[in-house]
Amino acid sequence: MNKPIGPPESIADVIENPTQCPQCGAITRLDQRSCSNCLLSEALEPEGELSREAFERILAEDNVADDEWRLGHYEILEEIGRGGMGVIYRARQQHSRRIVAVKRIFAHQVNSHETLVRFRREAEAVASLDHPNILPIYEVSESEEGLPFFSMKYATGGSLRAAAPALRVEPRDCVRLMAKVARAIAYAHDKGILHRDLQPGNILLDGNGEPMVSDFGLAKWMGENSDLTRTLETLGTPGYIAPEQAECTAAGLTSAADIYSLGAILFHLLTGRPPFVGANVLCVIHQAAVGPAPRLRSLAPSLDRDLEIIVARCLEPDRDARYQSAGALADDLEHWLRHEPIRARRVGIFIRGRKWVGRNPTTTMLVGLLIALTAAVGVMFWERESPHPMPRGVAVLPFENLSADPENAFFADGVQDEILNDLAKIADLKVISRTSVMQYKSGAKRNLRHIANELGVAHVVEGSVQRAANRVRVTAQLIDARTDTHLWVDHYDRPLDDVFAIQSDIAKAIATQLQAKLSPAEKSAIEQPPTKNLIAYDRYLRARKVRAVQTARVPGDMREETRLLDQAVAYDPTFLLAYCELAQAHAYAYHLGVDRTPARVALAKAARDAALRLSSDRGEPHLAAAEVAFHCNLDYETALTEVAIARGKLPNDASVFALSAYIHRRQGHWEDCARDLERAVQLDPRNVWLLQDAAETYHHERHFSEATAAWDRVLAVAPGDPSSRVWRALVDLDSRADTRPAYEAVQNIVTEDPSAVDSIAEHWLYLALCRRDAAEMGRALASLPPEGIVRRDLLMPRPFCEGLAARARGDAKGAEAAFIAAHVEMEKILREQPDYAQAFCVLGLSDAALGRKEDAIREGRRALELLPVAKDMMAGGVVLANLAIIYAWAGEKDRALEQLATAIRFPSPEFLSYGQLKLHPFWDPLRGDPRFDKLLEESKKPVPLK
């Protein structure tokens, strides 16, 4: 209380749409009405000045009635507050000149008998109290109009609400003060009076900082029945009122309600906020009823356990579990001050457990679902490995951009992204990855509980960013989405350079709120800013945005992405993350066939090396190294080693787990693959690509029930996605040779959205071939892209597809022409890329179709040499199957069947399901052979596990 300067305030009140003064055009105002400039300019008027005496003499000449400014024999000086029923003034007692506070009832409430009664009751009740820490009432009287009022001591120290921030640095002062308040309340209780509205605004301070409880506005004689109706206004102040106050009649309340409020006030003093905060009164009351209150030390970790226990005991939702009297509370507070053991410890107060379970159906339901899925898929889930039933989960949702300039939307995204990345470094937290959260755009109304459910977390972070000139304002809040409780909020207004510090502060604050353990390494990683150069950061953010909005990997986008990243590292050659992204971008360009040249690989490696030179401690360079090793070299050993390092440092990065899964998949480690994919999905549950990858994996491995569930999961997130719909339907084709669902799906899509056919053309052709439907084949071919089907594992150029279709419908001439064209095309490609195994597959099949047996077999074997399953189980599986087909078309039945028997043991995209073997023209030469039938039966089973 000895601070010389007044309480902190903003620099000025901000008005959004200032109106100009009609006189001078200025827009600053005093008291929101007068133009400050005009007021000041008065001083320049030439009309002379006036002494005080002259002024007062003139004032006195006219009797401008000042009646209202008297109540009884009190001269009203100014209004200092408004309560629920009346006004409070600072006033001067006429005779003694003593300054007092006067409370009177609102004129417009005079007619309410209820109000008058209540008011009088308060006055009488409190006037009977005589305690050093209860604000004394001097007089209860009535004005000339019959309005009751009373006068009381004027507390010059203001209220506890205003003094709270200053007090917070001295917990002992807070406790000392509240011990006195508790004693005062105990005294009032002994006299049969409940306060019912204890809150910081009602605890006033005298000039020495001594607390005085005032405003027994809802005081009630204990034991007296009252049938006064309760309105929300007169319930007490939300945030500090006991949960039962919302439910009980006045008669049902006990001293326990005041004890709750005392605990809430102490909580506020020590942490800076009441136990429950919320968007509105009802929300807060509801939370208090559901409970439990946050632990004191979750907000103020430096406080000790005993204090936490004391406060917790006051805030028990069950009033029988609280201190039985305000005196007992005061005792314990005083014990604490004297460093003596507190009583609350001895009583078993943790009955929270049973209440908790009953009140959290959402969490239990989620866990149940996940476990059910576990059972179906048969892989280990994260939960089983960790000690918590459900890791602390949080999702950082897109922040709102409040800047005037819409260009800054990506800046706001960048802030959110950094916070997310910082939090993701904490192993003790589960943090949802970016792709999933970006779907919940700010601006639209967000149902947080719904979102949290979809993402599988309990908490969300929301915020806003405003960037103007060289400053940035960030607001962030942490919300328990299950109960819509705001757990933490903070505002930052700093120079732009500080934006990284803001992000890491927010991340650390959230981690504290969620009681996540933070290792020193994690802390250090969070505090490290990505770059010091804001222009570099700008480029980096733009590059990330380009990647984020891509729906398909388009060469133009990739160029733009790498261009921006190149600029970023040019501006800041120490920008680690930019190098990592650059390495990944180049590696993807190679991997996806956008640019399969050695030059591209070199670029990827250069960026990776630069990243590793900058830091080999961080996870990101190792992830980049893993991507390069995997996508560019198929070097699984290195990739897995690097991924393992990355996983240790980036425990919440879905892409780390996804990459790990893909590596395992290529190596044929099916269980590891599925486990890692599921982990990735948990971290990024709305990432459609990831979900599709998972579903496709199950599909290729012929785990069709899992595949069905997994495709349904994709469709739950992206219900309209055409290719997923068809895939889902293909499960029936592949598992049971039933083409109808797929046929219907395709027809529906073609009808609903003709523009979507190019995304399903490949499946359509496959389906049409299986159905031997020439017309459909034609339509499917028409919707193929000009280059045909070009994927990593599968190459089927257009002429080849045409050849297949022609052959299937018995058009020998057409087939011949097409396969010759395919041949020419493949030769051309192989001149440039002589080690392109898939090209050899196509070449070999074409030659087989054209009757060039030796060439075909040689080419097929060459493909196998280039891409054995040992090197890449998925692509290699395709090559194996391909060779079987070559043998079959070349008339080498035995070798074909032998080859097929081998191939069937490996996962193979679109080649070797039961349905395919049964229906596809590829396998026509083998039909009827009992060995083939045997293999058909084999193919019903899943790919054998390794």
Binding site: I5, Q20, L40, E42, E47
Partner: protein, 251 residues
């Protein structure tokens, strides 16, 4: 400071007292110290706003502002200050800039608390809080120095108004003050003397007369406030114009 505000008596400007007492001792020095304390008590808010605008958090700004004023009041500030003197406002700003510059480098070792309380809690509570409003854009775009001047200008006006109010209140004319307060600045079209008369229960002519009265007194108080921060009476007009420019620039 007693809660019942004593009427203030000024015979000479505070700043001139401070300047006079800079190199003196004894009674004159005491008077100088008092005068300086009074000035700081009045004008701490512009300093605080400046520190905030310089990018410090609210808590840090409070600490820094407090330390700054302690430094001013406890050391022989004026003697050490640049003798190009001039006005209190500009000297204060310059000192504050230097102070912040130095504070950034080293830990602040000035102790707090102690016996200097130039704004006591009681006085704070009985003074009305500052009510300046400004557009968001202006707040964002104004340089800290301009904001300092703007807040200074607002403080001058607020103090003058507050004193006027107290004088009215002391004579039982608070209601009159409240009713006419919005019309103190030069005549504009929407002053309806008839309406005001009705509201106050007096004739229109009375309203006109008392408004003129209030305005005159207000101008005196305003000029007096400004004069307390300059050395020579001749500087008052110039200072006022400077402050007007500061307020107008927020447009």
């Amino acid at each position: 400071m007693s809660v019942e505000a004593e009427p203030r008596v000024f015979t000479t400007t505070r700043w001139s007292l401070v300047l006079a007492g800079a190199n003196s001792e004894g009674n004159q020095q005491n008077k100088a110290a008092e005068a300086l304390a009074e000035l700081c008590r009045t004008y701490w808010r512009p300093a605080f706003s400046y520190v905030c605008r310089r990018g410090y958090s609210s808590e840090d700004a409070e600490d820094l502002t407090q330390d700054f004023f302690l430094m001013i009041l406890e050391t022989n500030w004026l003697q050490q200050a640049d003798h190009g003197r001039g006005r209190f406002r500009s000297l204060l700003l310059k000192s504050l800039q230097n102070f912040l510059h130095n504070a950034a480098d080293k830990n602040r070792t000035l102790k707090r608390g102690g016996s200097v309380q130039f704004v006591s809690w009681d006085a704070w509570m009985t003074e009305a809080p500052s009510q300046l409003s400004i557009s968001a854009r202006a707040l964002d775009s104004l340089a800290p120095e301009r904001l300092f001047d703007l807040r200074w200008a607002a403080t001058v006006v607020e103090h003058a108004l507050r004193r006027l109010r107290e004088e009215c209140e002391g004579k039982g004319r608070l209601r009159l003050f409240e009713a006419l307060r919005d019309h103190l600045a030069a005549e504009h079209g929407d002053t309806s003397y008839a309406d005001l008369g009705t509201g106050l229960g007096v004739a229109e002519t009375v309203v006109k007369k008392q408004l003129y009265n209030l305005r005159q007194r207000y101008r005196s108080l305003l000029r007096e406030e400004v004069s307390h921060t300059v050395e020579k009476p001749a500087d008052v007009d110039d200072e006022i114009r400077h402050l007007c420019a500061a307020l107008a620039s927020a447009a």
